[in-house]
Amino acid sequence: MCRGLTEICTRSRSFFVATLPDPFTVGFVRTQDILTLTPAGIYCPAGDFFVDPMRPVGRALVTHGHSDHARAGHDKVMATAPTLDIMDVRYGQDFTRERQVAVLGQAVRIGDVVITFHPAGHVLGSAQIAIELDGFRVVVSGDYKRSQDPTCLPFEPVQCDSFVTEATFGLPVFRFPDAETEARKLLASQALFPDRTHLLGAYALGKAQRMIRVLRDLGYDRPIYLHGSMVRLCDYYGRAGIDLGELRRVDPAQRGRLGGEIVLCPPSTLKDTWARKFPEPITVAASGWMRVRARARQKGVELPLIVSDHADWPALCATVREVGCSELWVTHGEADALVHWAGMQGIEARPLHLMGYGEESDEALDEAA
């Protein structure tokens, strides 16, 4: 069945939904025929695999390396080469029994479905997974963003019937400035407070490397200091061909001498005893949450930088429109507003309220040290 027909049928179904329930849809594929929700996460029965499962399963397709999506202990893992590498760096080489490299854009049959990985623009290696059954295409986006990021491939919109999206920043208050503007604030503050250490809290995977790269692109060429737990992933980015300039691991004994320097650390360490030994440290955080003042204040952040690896509200809406889907599943985040908006656009939307996503927890980051 061609996509156009599906669209027409789906539309007419929603038109008649009040008077003509189930029997009308018999014979047409819908999202729930391809994906079901289980306690372990999103499952595809026709291919017998999970996408980003939260507990160990037989076969997992993993969108990206953040710890809430990529967990250790699955029997088989299929992901892009960088994502497999990142899992290796974080969990050790025994994180799975069998690895399968997903090549971007290459269709692979698994059971009755055909799957294809496409770049998601979230972090290095991040991908969306398109799943097709009988001409009906579902795209599970994983986490994604549309803004420019020098450390990963840009998001590639894939036409689909059904789009499974995140909504971490799914409220219209979230509109993010570009990362350069925000990084300039850090450099301006450094010029104003040349004796104080700027402690920049950023996720160890993705955000940290992006911030470093953006600073380098702005001409900042002094060494950038790293909390010990960030070194291995930054090294990996370097091996993957992303030049981060001179990076130095913070020697705890030398913290008192790092006045005027930029030090990157996981957000959880910002308020730790570890952070106390720097000269008059300024707490900086790079996150989409920094858009809301109360959130920044609760975290004790003194210089909030609004930089996110997730899509902001305009990007979420634009993406949903662009992929042309008629059904929308919202996995996690601020689902209510996006579902409401999609409804106004005539798209059938459903919040999944998946627990466990969007919690790339600080503890997990520290474990990765």
Partner: protein, 550 residues
């Protein structure tokens, strides 16, 4: 507006005083006139215009944003100005954002009817931070933790001057302060102080430490009671038209005259002359000084009713004279100023104004006895309103600020209560990573069903080592978290007892316990004491009923 918005944004997150000064000084240095002048006016809260109502902001937004999305957003953000700033749709052709001067001058002249359209135009041209700052400014709620004094201090830094020099000329200045900045830049003279009744920055005392006593000679010092009121400066003079002007300033230089017309009338008396008097504002009924709680009935009010004046008559107890008949006395020794003060109060002969008596003493031991028992030392019925003693070096000039070694305050022993730690919150600045703000409670209810009721919050009184240990205790005994607040285990069996010292107790309808403590701090950490043996609320309530039993 853009630079000013960024300054406000940065200030709103900056916890340290020095950091704030740096940010403001940098802004004043880089921003041209008159923009920096209007910014200074905004920071010192001297701009006068009709504030916009939140309802207007809301109405403008509802025309532009889907109501469901607006409500979801507002609940998430929790602040109307900020929600509006973030939700305002980007304009197709935004145009140039306004200058702060433009905003201020337009606000002063725009009619109520034309205002919504004007506001819309501005919001269309600004970005998120600009819109937030504009909405905060026009709704009259900056709340960025900057006092007028701090903003003036930042200006002083600009020209390498003392903040008090700015205070001296402040009342003669007009927005946008071109004269002031020219003086700071070294391109203009010091502006003349034309305030006929100016505030003069107050001289403050250091707490007397045990170790000070040994090194100080009692003969060098004069002692007075320390009164439990508020410090004020009463000033009178003549304006350019020869009219008599009298003002009452708070310790921080705020003009509080409007709330005390009864006292102002006394100061207008020609016998007071063009003088400036330093003293304590008290409530006096039937010749007796009333408690601080009573005085509070007249504090923090813009105006006062005839009834309140009759029920709570204001009184000034004088202890220093800074100027007399236009002559600045501040460089004279305390003893000379005191003589002239005594003569002035005698001449004035007003029951509303009297002298703070000198407490004669020969030795520190004797003074310690007086401090312990003011009644025996001749304080009479006013002993209730005595907080302790003030010691002033006889030779001391009146030095603004808190100079070392000249004035000391020697407070009476505070009240103590054993309370249980209930919640902890992280501190600010240097303590940002430590749980250093402690909410504590005492027991209430029958012994079988007793519960802890919070009675106060303490931020100080412990050493750095003790703080480290308290911090660790909080982290290891957290039972739940509410945003930045940690609940710490507090049952009859488990928990930590803090001995809290405080200066006094007032009734309060704001607190669950019905009590409000004055200046509570941690006196000792009772690692040894079981929580079940902490004090009960009745102990505090009894203090409330007889406020002078210590």
């Amino acid at each position: 507006m853009k630079a000013f918005a960024q300054l406000l944004d940065r200030l709103s997150f900056e916890p340290s005083r020095n950091g704030k000064l740096r940010l403001m000084a940098d802004f004043f240095r880089r921003t041209p006139d008159p923009e920096r002048g209007y910014a200074l006016a905004a920071l010192t809260d001297t701009l006068k215009f009709q504030h916009a109502k939140p309802a207007l902001v809301r109405a403008l937004l509802e025309e532009r944003v889907d109501p469901v999305l607006f409500n979801l957003s507002y609940h998430y953000v929790g602040d109307l100005s900020e929600t509006a700033a973030l939700l305002w749709p980007a304009a197709a052709h935004p145009g140039e954002p306004p200058l702060l001067s433009e905003v201020v001058m337009t606000l002063a002249t725009t009619s109520r009817a034309a205002f919504p359209r004007q506001l819309t135009l501005w919001l269309d041209t600004l970005d998120e931070i600009g819109r937030w700052a504009l909405l905060k400014l026009i709704t009259g709620s900056l709340r960025i933790g900057v006092s007028a004094r701090l903003a003036k201090t930042a200006v002083a830094i600009l020209g390498g001057h003392e903040p008090n020099e700015i205070e001296d000329v402040w009342h003669g200045l007009v927005i946008p302060y071109g004269q002031l900045f020219a003086w700071m830049d070294g391109t203009g003279p010091r502006p003349a102080s034309v305030d006929p009744a100016p505030y003069r920055p107050a001289m403050l005392a250091h707490p007397l430490e045990e170790r000070d006593v040994a090194s100080l000679d009692p003969k060098d010092f004069s002692a007075e009671w320390k009164w439990d009121g508020i410090r004020v400066q009463a000033v009178a003079g003549h304006d350019a038209d020869g009219r008599r002007i009298a003002k009452l300033h708070s310790r921080a230089g705020e003009d509080i005259s409007a709330a005390f017309p009864d006292l102002i009338e006394s100061l207008r008396d020609p016998r007071f002359g063009d003088s400036a008097l330093d003293g304590e504002l008290l409530i006096m009924r039937e010749g007796r000084v009333q408690s601080f709680g009573t005085l509070q009935q007249r504090l923090n009010r813009k105006t006062v009713s005839v009834k309140a004046m009759a029920d709570y008559p204001a009184h000034l107890r004088a202890y220093d004279l800074l100027a007399e008949s236009g002559e600045d006395l501040r460089s004279l020794p305390f003893t000379e100023r005191r003589e002239r003060l005594e003569a002035l109060v005698d001449r004035l002969h007003d029951p509303r104004v009297d002298l703070s008596p000198i407490v004669a003493f020969d030795s520190w031991e004797q003074l310690a006895e007086f401090r312990a028992d003011p009644v025996q030392a001749g304080a009479g019925p006013d002993a209730d309103a005595i907080e302790g003693l003030m010691l002033k070096r006889r030779e001391s000039a009146y030095v603004p600020g808190r100079p070392k070694g000249l004035w000391f305050k020697w407070k009476r022993n505070p009240f103590n209560v054993d309370a249980v730690l209930m919640y902890a919150q992280r501190g600010h600045g240097k303590r940002a990573s430590f749980y250093s703000d402690y909410t504590f409670g005492v027991w209430r209810g029958t012994p079988e069903a007793q519960e802890l009721v919070p009675v106060g919050k303490a931020y100080s009184g412990f050493t750095d080592e003790e703080l480290t240990r308290l911090d660790r205790y909080v982290r290891n005994n957290t039972t739940s978290r509410f945003g930045p607040v940690r609940e710490v285990e507090h049952t009859t069996e488990k928990g930590l007892v803090l001995e809290i010292a405080f200066e006094g107790l007032n009734r309060s309808t704001r607190h669950k316990s019905g009590l409000a403590m004055r200046f509570p701090r941690v006196n000792r950490i009772r690692w040894d004491k079981p929580t079940g043996e902490a004090d009960r609320i009745e102990v505090l309530e009894s203090l409330l009923n007889s406020p002078n039993e210590r």
